[in-house]
C-alpha cells in the first residue's frame, strides 16, 4: 500500500525484566487506516499504547512510528486515555481542557495569546460537534459528551495518528454508534490513522479496516473476518473458543472466560 507506514512492528515483544506480556507482534498500519485493538482484560492492549507513546521500551523487536523509533512526546500522535476520575467540584470549562493541548507543553505563560489559543480549542470542539459544550464544566457532562471533548483535545494538534483507549466503555449502544461514526468521519476527512482499544468488536465492524488481537501472550493482526473466527481465536487462546454469527452480522465470542482460567 503505502511505502511510509505510520506504525511498523517487527517481532515486537512487550514486558518487564523477567515477565513477558506478549510476543511476536508483526504488523504495519498506514495513513487513514482504522484499526481496532482487541483482547481480554489485562492482555496487554494499554501496554501496546505505552510502547507507541514511548513511555515503555519493548523487551525486543523493532517498533517504528513515522519511520523513527518510538519516542516520548511525539507531536504527531493524539492520545485519548481512559479517564476514570473527573473532579466533581472543579468548574473549569471544557474548552480549557481542550486548550491544554494547544501549548500546554511549552514553558511560561501564554502571554497575550490566550484568546487565540481558546479560539483554536473552540474550533476543535466545533469539528466534533461539541461547540455547545465549550463552556460547560466536565462534571456536568455525560459519558458521551466527555468523550467528544477529549477527542477534540486530541485533534487540536492536528495529529497523524490517534490512539484511543476504550472510548466506548460505559456508553449505551446509541452513543457508541454516534461516537464511532464521528471518529470515523473525522479521521477519513483528515486521513488520520486510528488505533482504538475496545472490548467488543461489534460497534467497530462498520468502520474498522483491520484488527489487532492480543490474547494469551500472542498478537495476531488481520481483517476481522480472518481473526475473529473460532479457529483463529482457539489457536490464540490455546483453548476452545466459539464465534457465533448473528443474523445481521454481529459476532459473539464465547469461551474466553474459561480460556483465561483454564490454568487455575
Amino acid at each position: 500500500m503505502n511505502s511510509n507506514p505510520v506504525i511498523s512492528a517487527q517481532d515486537l515483544v512487550a514486558g518487564y525484566k523477567d515477565k513477558v506480556i506478549w510476543r511476536d507482534a508483526n504488523f504495519t498500519i498506514n495513513r487513514g487506516e482504522f484499526i481496532g485493538l482487541l483482547g481480554a482484560n489485562g492482555a496487554g492492549k494499554t501496554t501496546m499504547f505505552r510502547l507507541l507513546l514511548g513511555l515503555s521500551r519493548p523487551v525486543s523487536g523493532r517498533l517504528e512510528v513515522f519511520g523513527k523509533s518510538a519516542s516520548r512526546g511525539n507531536p504527531r500522535i493524539g492520545y485519548v486515555p481512559q479517564r476514570p476520575y473527573i473532579d466533581s467540584e472543579s468548574k473549569i470549562e471544557a474548552v480549557e481542557y481542550v486548550r491544554l493541548a494547544v501549548s500546554g507543553t511549552k514553558l511560561g505563560f501564554s502571554f497575550g495569546r490566550s484568546d487565540d489559543e481558546r479560539q483554536r480549542a473552540y474550533e476543535a470542539l466545533v469539528s466534533v460537534g461539541a461547540a455547545n459544550l465549550a463552556h460547560r464544566s466536565l462534571s456536568e457532562l455525560s459519558g458521551g459528551e466527555l468523550q467528544r471533548i477529549f477527542f477534540a483535545q486530541a485533534l487540536v494538534s492536528k495529529p497523524d495518528l490517534l490512539l484511543l483507549d476504550e472510548p466506548l466503555a460505559n456508553l449505551d449502544i446509541r452513543r457508541e454508534t454516534e461516537l464511532i461514526r464521528l471518529i470515523s468521519h473525522v479521521v477519513k476527512e483528515q486521513n488520520i490513522a486510528v488505533l482504538l482499544i475496545a472490548h467488543d468488536i461489534n460497534p467497530l465492524l462498520p468502520v474498522v479496516d483491520r484488527i489487532i488481537y492480543i490474547a494469551n501472550g500472542k498478537v495476531a493482526s488481520g481483517k476481522p473476518s480472518e481473526i475473529v473466527t473460532s479457529k483463529k481465536l482457539s489457536e490464540l487462546y490455546d483453548s476452545p473458543i466459539e464465534v457465533l454469527k448473528g443474523s445481521r452480522g454481529q459476532l459473539a465470542v464465547l469461551g474466553v472466560e474459561e480460556a483465561l482460567h483454564h490454568d487455575d
Binding site: G73, P81, Y97, S103, T105
Partner: protein, 291 residues
C-alpha cells in the same frame, strides 16, 4: 458586652477612616513588617495553594508543615535557626513524597505514616532540648507580630523565587495537574514536575509558617484555593480568586487584631472559613433554582 467591645475599639484608636487607621498602625515597624510579610505570603500561598488543591495534595501540604516542625525542633536542639530546620525538613519531605509516586489511593496512608513518625521525632527533639523550646512552639501558631526587617527580605526573596519558578513552568504544571496521562504522553516528565512542585510547596510552607503557624497552614494554603476551585471557570480566574481571598483575609486579620488583641492567625483562619461557608451556602442555593 457590646459597650465593652466598642470601648476596646475606640481606646485603641479605631476610627472609621480607613486611610488614617492604616497610617496610624503603619507607624509601627512591626505592623509594617507584618503587612509586608503577610502580603508576600498570601500571594504565594494563593498561587501555590491553587495547584495544591488541583493536584489533590491538601493532606500532603498539611503533613509537610508538621514534618517541617520536626525539623525546626531539631534545629533548635543543635542550636541552629529553627527556620533552617523547617526548610530542610519540608524540602526533604516534599522530595520524598514526589519520588515515592502518585497513586492517590495509597498516598494518604503513606503520608500519614511518615507524618506520625515525624511528629514523634519532633517530640523527641523538644524533649532532648534543655529548656522550654519556645522557639519551636511558637512556630505552631505563627508569630507575625515578631517579624524583623531581615525576615521580610528573606520572605520576599523566597516569594520571588517561587513566583518566578511557577511562571516558568506554568503551562506544563497546569497540564500535568489537570490532565496527567495526556501530559505524560506529550513528553512532560511527571516525576520532574512533581519534584519541582513539591520543592516549591516546601519553600512556600516555610514562609507561610511565620504568618499562620504550622497547625493552621491550611487556612492560607488550601481554603482560599478550594473556594476558587468551586467558582472559577478558567485557571487564570481561579488563581486570581485564590490570591484575592488569601490577601484580603490576611490584611483583614492583621487590621482587626491591631484593635482587638487576639491572635492574628485566629482572625485569618476565621475569615477564610466564613468565606468558604458563604460560598458553599450560595452555591447550594443556586443548585435548587430551576435551570
Amino acid at each position: 458586652m457590646t459597650t465593652k467591645f466598642i470601648a476596646t475599639l475606640s481606646s485603641s484608636g479605631f476610627s472609621f477612616n480607613l486611610y488614617s487607621d492604616l497610617v496610624n498602625m503603619w507607624q509601627y515597624d512591626f505592623m509594617r513588617h507584618a503587612f509586608e510579610a503577610g502580603t508576600i505570603v498570601a500571594v504565594v500561598a494563593g498561587v501555590v495553594g491553587y495547584f495544591v488543591v488541583m493536584r489533590r495534595l491538601s493532606f500532603a501540604a498539611h503533613a509537610l508543615s508538621h514534618i517541617g516542625f520536626a525539623g525546626a525542633a531539631g534545629a533548635v536542639l543543635v542550636g541552629l535557626n529553627p527556620l533552617s530546620g523547617l526548610l530542610l525538613f519540608t524540602s526533604g519531605g516534599g522530595l520524598t513524597m514526589a519520588v515515592l509516586g502518585r497513586k492517590a489511593s495509597s498516598r494518604d496512608v503513606q503520608i500519614g505514616t511518615v507524618l506520625a513518625f515525624m511528629l514523634g521525632l519532633g517530640v523527641l527533639f523538644i524533649n532532648l532540648y534543655k529548656g522550654y523550646a519556645t522557639e519551636a512552639y511558637s512556630l505552631l501558631f505563627g508569630e507575625i507580630l515578631g517579624i524583623s526587617s531581615s525576615d521580610v527580605i528573606a520572605t520576599l526573596v523566597a516569594g520571588l523565587v517561587i513566583i518566578t519558578a511557577i511562571i516558568v513552568i506554568f503551562r506544563r504544571l497546569l497540564f500535568t495537574s489537570l490532565d496527567e496521562d495526556v501530559a505524560e504522553a506529550k513528553g512532560i516528565s511527571m516525576m520532574g514536575m512533581s519534584i519541582i512542585f513539591m520543592l516549591l510547596l516546601a519553600v512556600a510552607t516555610s514562609i507561610a509558617v511565620q504568618v499562620v503557624g504550622v497547625l493552621l497552614i491550611f487556612a492560607l494554603m488550601v481554603t482560599p484555593a478550594a473556594i476558587a476551585q468551586r467558582i472559577a471557570r478558567r485557571p487564570s480566574q481561579g488563581l486570581t480568586i485564590s490570591i484575592c481571598i488569601a490577601l484580603l483575609a490576611t490584611w483583614f486579620g492583621l487590621f482587626i487584631s491591631y484593635y482587638i488583641p487576639y491572635p492574628v492567625s485566629f482572625f485569618i483562619t476565621t475569615t477564610v472559613f466564613v468565606a468558604y461557608l458563604l460560598v458553599r451556602l450560595f452555591q447550594s442555593n443556586l443548585v435548587h433554582r430551576p435551570r
